[in-house]
Each structure stands twice: as C-alpha cells, then as structure tokens.
C-alpha cells in the first residue's frame, strides 16, 4: 500500500532560500566568539625561513596568532582510499605549512581577533621570510627531466599511476583500417558556489563536546578526521549542517581550515568563526579537472570501434587532499563510455604542480574523459565521412549485452538501453530537422554547428547508508539519515520515499540530516548517491517499522496503517505508535552504478569576434526511476549550465611563477543568464535492477556531456578549422586564434 508520492513532482520546501530566512553558517553567532583570518602564502614555492608574529599579536583586538609550530604534526587524511601507493601519505596536506609552502594560498598562520576587520588588518602584519624555490607551473613540466620537485622528500612529482586494461589492444590495433591520435586538454576550473565555505567551532566545557557548524557533504568523515587529528574521541565532536548555498563537490570535504578552527576553539576556549572570502575561495577551495590526454583510437572502415590507448597527466596540485587520487582514477574509469570496445589500455598519472590542490567537482573525471573521447569520435566520424550520430549508433552497447563488464577493469554496466536513450535525445530535439536548419542557416552565411556526447555517469557509490525512522506520539515520523543537503532537495526526495513506504502523508514525515549526533554513521552527499543509498535505506527502515508494528498486532505487514499516532489493523485494533520502537534500514552498495546520458548542442559562431553562442542545448539522462522528476530536471539543467561555463568561459589561469590569475569574479567568468539558453532536459526511466527502488544517480549528468557536446558543435561550426578544437574553454580569443592560423 502506497500513498503515491514516488514519481510525483512534489514541490520542495525551499522558501527559506528565497525569503532570506535561511540560516547559513555565517548567520550563526555564539556568545564570545572570535574571528579567524588565515595568513596565506603569496608565493608558489618557497622555504619558510622565519615567521615573525610579534607585530600582528600586538594589534588591537588580536587574541592569538598561531603557526605550524603551535599545532601537532598532522595531515588531512584521505576519505576514499583507492589505488594509493605506499608513499601517497607523503603528499598529504598539513593544516599549516611547516617548512615549505607549495602553492599560492597555502595556510601559513592564523590570526584570531575580536572582529573580522581587525583580524584581517593584523594578518597583513604577520611577517614571513621566504626563500623562493623553482616552481612547477604546469602538468607537462611536472614529469620532465630535471624539473623541480613539489615534495623533495618524495623524489618524484608523480603521485600515482592508474593502469586499466581490457582485451588484446595490440591485436585490435593490428586489425584497424583507421587509427587516429591526438592530444586533448581539459582545463583547470572549479565550483564557485554562491555561498563560500565557513565554519564556527565551540567547545562546551560542561559536556566536553566540540560542536562545529558549517559542515556539509561528508560530516561523518570530517568528524573522524578531526577526531584523529585533534586527538579527541569521535563522540566528543558534533558536526552540524546549516543551510548550504551550493556544494558541487568542493564544499564539506575536510580542509585545513576545518582543523584550524576546531583546534583554535579548543586551544582558546572560545567560539571561533571563519568565513571564507571570495578571493580565498579561488585559491583555497579545491580546484578541478586539469588534465592532458594522448589518445589513440582504432576503428574499422565501416565505423566500428575496436580499441583505444590513452596516456594522461592529471593535475593533483600541490598536495593530495581528502579525495585522494580520484582526479587520476575517475577519468580512467570513464574513458570507455557507453561503447562496445574490443580492447583498451589506459594509463593515467596523478602529477603534482605548485598550484592549489585538486579535488572533485560535479561530474569528476567523467567530464574530462567524455570530452576527450567524444571529441575524438567526431574526428573519427570526419575521417570516415560518417554522420557523428551514426558513428555512435553503431557502437553503443545494446540492451541485450547488459550487464556488460570490461573486466578486469572495474567497470560494469548493470542495466539500461543506451541506443534507445540516444535515439530518444535525437527524436526530442528533432535531429534530422536540425540538420536541415543547419544547412539553411549556413547557406545564409551563418556559422552554426551541432555536437553530441554520449557517456556513462558513475553514481551510487557505497559502501552503505543507514536510516532510522523514529515515530513520535503525535503521529509524526522523524527520519534520520547520514547524507547531506547541499540545496539539491534531498529532504523532499527522501520525504517522498518515506511517506510512500510508510503510507502516510508527506507532512507527517520530517527528514533529519543535520547532525552527527542523530545517526552513528553516514557517508554523505557525493557521487550522485543520496537517492540510491539513503533512499533505499529509508525504504528498508520504513518496511522494518511496518513489520515491527504488524508483529505487535500479529497481522501481516501489509495490513497495518499508521493513523493519528496509532497503529491500526483492519479489524480496528490499535496500539500507540510510540510503543512500536523505531525502524532501521541499511542499504549496502558494494559496486557503483553507471547510468547513461547524452547531450546535444547547437551553437553559432561570430567568426569576426570569435564569440560562441549556444542556441540550443539538450541533455538526456537515464535515472532508473525519477522519484521527483521536476527536481531532477532542475538538477540536470543546473549542471548543464555549469558545463556551458566550463566549455566557454571559466578557467583558473596561472602564470609561469605559479601566480593565480583568476582570483576575483571579474576574471573567473561564470555564465550569466545572458549566456545560457533554456536547457532542454529529457529524463529516461529504465529501472535499475540492482536496487529495490530501481533508481540510479543523476545529480551530475547534466555536466558530464556538456563541454564535449559544445566543443563538437563549435568544431562543426568552424568547418575545416574545427579540427583544431583540442582544448577548453573555447574563449573568443582562442576561437579567433584557430581561424587566424588557417
């Protein structure tokens, strides 16, 4: 029995975000709080000879100044250990630089004052004597002979090498009619949420509990990390989520500031507040994406893909942060995509440079891999004089071949229908008609182009999530989960699942994800996992609660109803809801789910100025089953908008000395409403056979194919010169450059 909430676009309760009543961490104030200002390195690579804090400490309002000498020797641990080497720990970041600074923006000291203005004034007076060292300013020079070492003690700038293989590559290449090869480059960019990061820590001397407000994404892991770094028990640390103004993968990982703010609250015995400013965000928060690939594709003359070889250099920045070597691993896992390859071999390398460390940003690895592969497929289609849509049609894995595995590579596609999804996209946008329009517009002198991308999106990464449903005597149900809200509407989606499975109205359910106190474990909100992991856990918890209630009345679980604080069975017997206890559910997911997505873009180019305009942009995603279709559509549209920014505008530039060139919003160009078309969103629902709800991830998909589709559309619009599209973003200057050299 259900109340019919799953699959319905229930309106989310987001008024607080619109009417100004949302409570972000910056809105939380505690009695007697002090303000922290981080002193950051102005140079990319230098030995610290001396730090003189005396003048800063003497300033009005200043309570403390700390440097590495004041904190324990500790480093931020890796949250998702995968394929690390025995020496990976050498690259982990200490909260404050001890002897060497390795990127502009690295924390060197912290000033604590009674007022944030005074803290910033005093921070300027911390006098650091640097002995500058040679700089590794880009990924390719990171591995050349005689290059400076970012971490001298490690003896190498290579953090990890990820080899991945399937089938007999040599044999497949030997049979090829066509082999094309090229170098492709994805650039450094990152998430720029409207709300910057921020933290407030307070020690309650009565209970001995340290509370940290401003947690997000992975609060249980951050608690464990702080516990080991600070040397206090986990149960004495409480992390609280506030309203969040955007996460996109970068917010909520344990950063140096998480340790520093907590440490200072313990050391000084007063609440410590730190709010990142925008200039800090651009150098302190994880960067993403920069990598270069040498890719080689083998195919037959009739357009059958045989094999590929890829060698890639993936920037890790100056340290390995909490996401470990994912910047090198995730692209490797996504290079094959939704196509039937006979063989491939991949070797990605995580390399160090003297720049802000790299983490994950919405669609990590998959966006880069999709750009590289899909750009090459269009080159192959051009070489074979084949419609790029037709090339993809011929090679997409067919539903009868699922589940499909590239073993020994850890890539398995569980369910779906890739060719049907692709055709669905073409039908919805009217591909044939679009091709005719392109011809007409070109005949009238316009430079328009169409581009595609098809891809797989990894999601629903485990290992597990738990849920706890606590009935209350007033007839309401509180659902405790370990995932996090980043503004994506997870409360609404989990509320729909709980209400439907309990058979109660949605307003009888409240979702509590805010507090590590309420649920012992949780892995958080990343990798498009919340609906699959927490959703199934909530469904199981609801079943558990129904079973317990039914057992009390000795009837089958399907026969009981929860009504007005009572459990009722068909003959009218009741017991109070509060006597039932609580429902518990745990959903384990040892293997991730890959779901299918595709994007199509129509662009025009002003050949005089080089300006690219996106006329139409469509994304399709197979989500298995859409719990709330409208929320999903908005997520896909939001992600695609970020993808358009990545394709055309946004770039974190550095000069040869490792100085960042994009540290204000005027220099880091995000798309505004003027640059964005109405994103067309198509949701496919091909139930996932690997979980009871039949759902798959979907939060990142809009991003994954967008840069690739736009790059292919620009190449198509450029005509002959389109072959030169090898890197992003396609700024007007770069487009003109491609035209000029012709």
């Amino acid at each position: 029995m259900t109340s019919g909430y799953i699959g319905v676009s229930v309106e989310r309760d987001d008024l607080a975000f619109l009417d100004g009543t949302a409570c972000y961490v910056a809105d939380v104030d505690r009695e007697g709080q002090l303000y922290a200002r981080v002193v950051r390195s102005p140079v990319a690579h230098a030995r610290i000879l001396d730090i003189d804090v005396a003048e800063a400490l003497a300033q009005p309002g200043v309570v403390a100044v700390i440097t590495a000498a004041d904190i324990p020797e500790t480093r931020i641990p890796i949250r998702l250990p995968m394929a690390e080497t025995p020496y990976t720990h050498l690259f982990l970041q200490p909260p404050l630089a001890r002897e060497v600074v390795r990127y502009v923006g690295e924390p060197v000291a912290v000033v604590v004052a009674s007022d944030p203005y005074l803290a910033e004034d005093a921070a300027e007076l911390v006098d650091v004597d640097f002995d500058e060292l040679d700089v590794v300013s880009d990924i390719l020079s990171a591995t050349t002979q005689g290059t400076p070492l970012v971490h001298a003690e490690a003896g190498t700038n290579i953090v990890a090498t990820v080899p991945l293989g399937y089938g007999d590559v040599e044999a497949a290449f030997a049979r090829a009619d066509v082999v094309i090869r090229d170098r492709l480059r994805m650039h450094r960019h990152t998430a720029v949420p409207m709300e910057t990061r921020g933290l407030l820590a307070e020690m309650d001397h009565g209970t001995g509990v340290l509370t940290l407000w401003g947690a997000a994404k992975v609060k249980h892991f951050t608690r464990s990390a702080l516990s080991s770094m600070l040397g206090i028990e986990r149960h004495r640390i409480r992390l609280v989520e506030n309203h969040v103004g955007g996460g996109f993968g970068v917010r909520g990982e344990p950063y140096p500031e998480d340790f520093l703010v907590a440490f200072l609250a313990l050391r000084l015995g007063r609440p410590i507040k730190w709010i990142e400013d925008r200039a800090e965000h651009f150098v302190a928060t994880n960067h993403a994406r920069e990598q270069e690939h040498d890719l080689e594709i083998a195919a037959t003359a009739d357009g059958r893909l045989l094999a590929f070889r890829d060698r890639a250099w993936c920037d890790q920045g100056a340290y390995v942060r909490s996401q470990g070597i994912l910047p090198a691993l995730l692209p490797a896992l996504h290079l094959p995509g939704p196509y039937r390859w006979e063989a491939f071999s991949v070797e990605t390398r995580g390399v160090l440079t003297n720049r802000t460390p790299v983490g994950t940003y919405r669609g990590p690895g998959m966006t880069e891999a999709t750009f590289v592969r899909e750009r090459m497929l269009d080159k192959l289609a051009a070489e074979l004089r084949l419609d790029p849509a037709e090339l993809r049609r011929r090679n997409l894995i067919r539903p009868g071949e699922l589940p499909f595995s590239f073993e020994p590579a850890p890539i398995t596609y569980e369910s779906g229908d890739f060719p049907a999804g692709f055709e669905h996209l073409l039908d919805e946008v009217g591909y044939d008609d679009l091709c005719k329009q392109r011809q007409v517009r070109r005949a009238s002198g316009e430079h328009v182009g169409i581009g595609f991308a098809a891809y797989t999106e990894i999601g629903a990464i485990g290992p597990f999530e738990e849920a706890r449903i606590v009935p209350r005597s007033d007839g309401r149900f509180v659902v405790h989960v370990g995932v996090a809200s980043l503004g994506q509407g997870v409360e609404t989606v989990l509320g729909q699942i709980a209400a439907e499975k309990l058979g109660v109205p949605m307003d009888a359910v409240s979702i509590d994800h805010h507090d590590t106190e309420k649920l012992a474990d949780g892995f958080g909100a990343f990798a498009s996992r919340s609906t699959t992991l927490a959703g199934n856990a909530v469904a199981l918890a609801a079943e558990d609660l129904r079973a317990k209630a039914a057992a009390r009345l000795d009837v089958p679980a399907g026969e009981i109803r929860f009504v007005q604080g009572q459990v009722r069975e068909p003959s009218g017997r009741t017991i109070p809801l509060a006597e039932v206890g609580e429902g518990r559910g745990r959903f384990d997911k040892p293997h991730p789910t890959f779901s299918f997505g595709a994007a199509l873009s129509l662009v025009s180019i002003d050949r005089e100025t080089g300006l690219v305009k996106v006329l139409r942009h469509a994304v399709l995603h197979d989500v298995g089953r859409a719990v709330n279709p409208e929320l999903l559509r908005r997520q896909l549209a939001g992600a695609a908008s970020q993808g358009i920014g990545a394709a055309l505008l946004e770039e974190l530039l550095y000069d040869e000395y490792g100085q960042p060139q994009s540290t204000i919003m005027a220099d880091y160009r995000m798309p505004t409403v003027e640059e964005l078309p109405d994103i067309e969103v198509i949701v496919e629902e091909r139930p996932n056979t690997a979980n009871p709800l039949g759902v798959k991830g979907g939060g990142e998909s809009g991003m994954v194919g967008t840069p690739a589709a736009i790059a292919n559309a620009v190449a198509d619009a450029l005509g002959v010169e389109g072959a030169r599209v090898w890197r992003l973003p396609l700024t007007p200057d770069r487009v003109r450059e491609m035209l000029r050299h012709h």
Partner: protein
C-alpha cells in the same frame, strides 16, 4: 576582502567636500557610487586615509543641453544617461556606452565623474569622452581649472587630478550640424569590461562627405586613444563600404595593444578593426 581602516566624512555641499578633502591630505579620496573604489578597498589595492562622500551634492547632478553643447554633472548615474532619450544624434554614443557599463545595479550607482576619475583603460565613458572631445571641470579648495580630455588620463587608473581635486562636470562642445555618434564594444560576457571598444563620431556635409571624424578606442592602450590615421582617411570621403573598411583597417594598424591572460594583443587588434567597421556601417545604415 575587508577594507583596511579609513575615516569617513559625508559632505553636504561642494565647498564642504573640497574643504574636507583638503584637510584630510593627500591620501583622501572622494567616493560617489563606489562601484570601482569599493572593490579596490575590499581587495586592499587602495588604502585611502579618508573617504569624502559626495553622494548628496545635488549641484553635481544633471544633464543639460544648451546651444548645441552638452554638460554632464559628475554625479550623473550611468542609468540616467542610459534612459535619456534626448541623448541622440551627436550624443547617441554616450547613451549607448552608458547602457553597456557593467550590470544594471552597477549603472544605478556608478557615476560619470567616478568612471572618469577611476580611468580604467577599458571603461566606456573615457572612450566616448575622448571621441566627443570633452573638457572636464576640476575643482579643489584652491580653485577651478579646465582639463581637456586629451590631457586628463595619465595611465591605467591614473589621471592628472591632484589630491583634493574633484571633477565636477564634463562639457562637450557643440558639434557641427549633422553630427552623429555610435559606440561599439566587445566583451566575452554580458557586463564585463570590454576587450576593446570604439566610439565613432562624424558629420556629413551636403555632398554626403565625412567631416570631423573622431574615432576613439578603449582597451588597447594605457589610456583611451584616437585613431588619427583612420580619421584622416575618412575626412572628405563618401562613407562607402570600402571607405569604412579601410578606416577600420587603419584604426587597427595604428594601435599596438598588449595582451593579458584573457585576450592577446593580436586579438584585441582584430577586434578594433571589427568594432570600428561595425560602428561605421551602423553610421552608414542609420542615416
């Protein structure tokens, strides 16, 4: 991104503002709309000891046309120019340029005098003022002087204004009959500073021949520059497509922009040709 300390004084008359600035010494700055100065303060790139707020000085407002000449008060907001329908014909470039400055909330606050005094080489109003041959009236506690636009800008974010000296008005001389002006710029994104900008002013005589062409370029040098060779090539010519194309080519050839991380010098040069070409073709078509 919090400003270092400064003293703040709000003036209620021009005399008071000038006196306050004189008293505060050479590290004082006037503040009006704050659309350039506030970000500089937040980034600690500017560290004035005092800010003298002139927002309440009504005597600095107003756009006046008299005997064909135009006066624009220093406190006139960009949005006011943008919404002045009588700024047409010779003054149309002013209205067009104002509409391209930043985003609407910026235009509601930003002022004419502020944009001039800030002297960003890519800003719109310095370029239009150069093409329209403005003269700026500068006042200080010790007196008043007139500064022609050609002498006003000293470099990127630098002018010849002395400490305590305030631009109170821009005066534009009466143009010859039949003068028209247009403004073109290119930025990669709506509201950004232009990679390059061009203001073109010209009149046509009875025979349709170009007289008094003035072409000013922004974003291509340390200060706004005139494209003298292109202007000379147009003088006395009928504004045909090929004449326009040649002038556009000369305008680009005559400048030597440097590049930055976002736009190379070669690219900016190409943009100059494109923008001057587009401005001239609009002047051809819109007559």
């Amino acid at each position: 991104m919090k400003p270092p300390p400064f003293a703040y004084r709000r003036a209620s008359s021009l005399e008071e503002a000038l006196r306050l600035a004189a008293e505060a010494g050479e590290d004082a700055k006037f503040i009006a709309g704050g659309q350039s100065l506030m970000p500089l303060l937040a980034l600690r790139l500017s560290r004035p000891s005092h800010l003298v707020d002139i927002n309440r000085l009504q005597e600095l407002g107003g756009v006046h046309q008299e005997n064909g000449a135009l006066r624009v008060g220093a406190l006139v907001r960009h949005a006011t120019l943008e919404r002045s329908p009588d700024l047409d014909g010779p003054w149309q470039a002013l209205r067009e340029a104002a509409a391209l400055i930043g985003h609407y909330p910026i235009r509601l606050r930003g002022t004419f005098g502020g944009s001039l005094a800030h002297a960003d080489p890519a800003a719109e109003l310095p370029v239009v003022s150069t093409a329209l041959q403005a003269t700026f009236i500068a006042r200080s506690a010790s007196g008043e002087r007139e500064i022609p636009v050609s002498e006003f800008f000293a470099g990127p974010l630098m002018t010849v204004l002395e400490p305590g000296e305030l631009v109170v008005e821009a005066r534009f001389p009466a143009p010859s009959p039949g003068t028209r002006s247009v403004f073109e710029e290119f930025s990669p994104r709506a509201g950004d500073f232009a990679f390059a900008a061009a203001a073109v002013v010209l009149a046509a005589d009875d025979g349709g021949r170009v007289r008094n062409a003035h072409i000013a370029l922004g974003g291509v040098a340390a200060i706004p520059v005139r494209a003298h060779e292109a202007e000379a090539a147009l003088e006395g010519e009928v504004l045909t497509g090929s004449a326009a194309q040649e002038a556009a080519r000369l305008a680009a050839a005559g400048c030597d922009p440097s590049g930055d991380a976002h736009a190379s010098g070669a690219y900016r040069k190409e943009l100059v040709a494109t923008l001057v070409g587009r401005a001239l073709s609009r002047l051809r078509e819109e007559r």
